[in-house]
Amino acid sequence: MDNAIATHPDVHGAAHEEDHEHVMLPQHRHHFETEQQQREAGSFGMWLFLLTEIMFFGGMFFAYLLYRNWYNPAFVAASNQLNVTEGAINTVILITSGFFMALGVWAAEMKKQKLLVIFLVLTTIFGCAFLGVKADEYHEKYEKHHIPGASFDIREFVNPPIDAKTGKPSQVPMAPDMAQKTQIFFFLYFAMTGMHAFHMIIGIVLLVWLIWRANNGDFTEGYVAPIENFGLYWHFVDIVWLFLFPLLYLINRHPLN
């Protein structure tokens, strides 16, 4: 009788050791019975966090959807003021950064410490390049008075510059009240890309910390979870941009057809 009750924790321990041979990791927390359990719980938790991020960005995407529907001419004209070349280059830069992040996870799994550090550094470099291009775009908005607020200038939406070749306005001229609504587009542009850039800045800070730890060999002895979970975050930020780029930059590229 007392055997039946008292032995079951030991029986499990013994059975477990026979079934699965594994090395105890120093990072293994005592409240998880196995590293496998710890790892699965960790990535589950990371995904739950990312779902809250979907809802966070989702609210802004929804605001965009409604206002674009409401003030479509203003959104079309304002969108055409964005720099598509820089936006497309930034998309490529971000995809490349995500590619190196994915390779970083592979390097950690393969216990290749030097490669892991190299891939994380490349991820960081491309992340910084993205922010650099973004800063250049923001600067252009500043120069063109396209930042919503007191110094916002609607003149070129009301009286678009004349195209020298055709002798016609380069954009459809808008009534001043609709032209004012371009501010809503730029407000959403700055809110969405700004929040995206803020996520990237946080990511780059984390990357620096991960590079330092990877350089100490923390993630190439079987403990991959931090690299893996940070990778999920980084790829999520990529995905947000994959939607931001067409929605903000490519609304209507042929306004005078």
């Binding site: 059975a15 496998q36 809802m55 989702g58 999520f236 995905i239 067409p246 490519l250």
Partner: protein
Amino acid sequence: MSEHDQYHDPSNVINPEHAEHHVVQPITYIIVFGTLLAGTLITVLAADVDMGVFNPIIALGIASFKAVVVILFFMHVKWQSKLIKMTVGAGFFTFLVLITMTLSDYISRSWGLW
């Protein structure tokens, strides 16, 4: 084996939901990388073609395709347990439910003034 053992499964290996740990190889990432670059090019080119109301639909379609590729391969969801797959799917599904319900409220408030 005691009766308990069939339920006690700390490594989650008896569980039919268990997914073997899978290391994704670089060749997969290279293919995905190429796919994403091609998708970006197609999006930019498609934006210059006047397709009327289909322009945003095409653009969102390509973006969604790229997002699914990132989620499945870069984020390893293809090789994760059903629990994770359900979690990811439920998240996007809930987001779509919220959009649909809010939009139906919006559309029905001032009927015809969309």
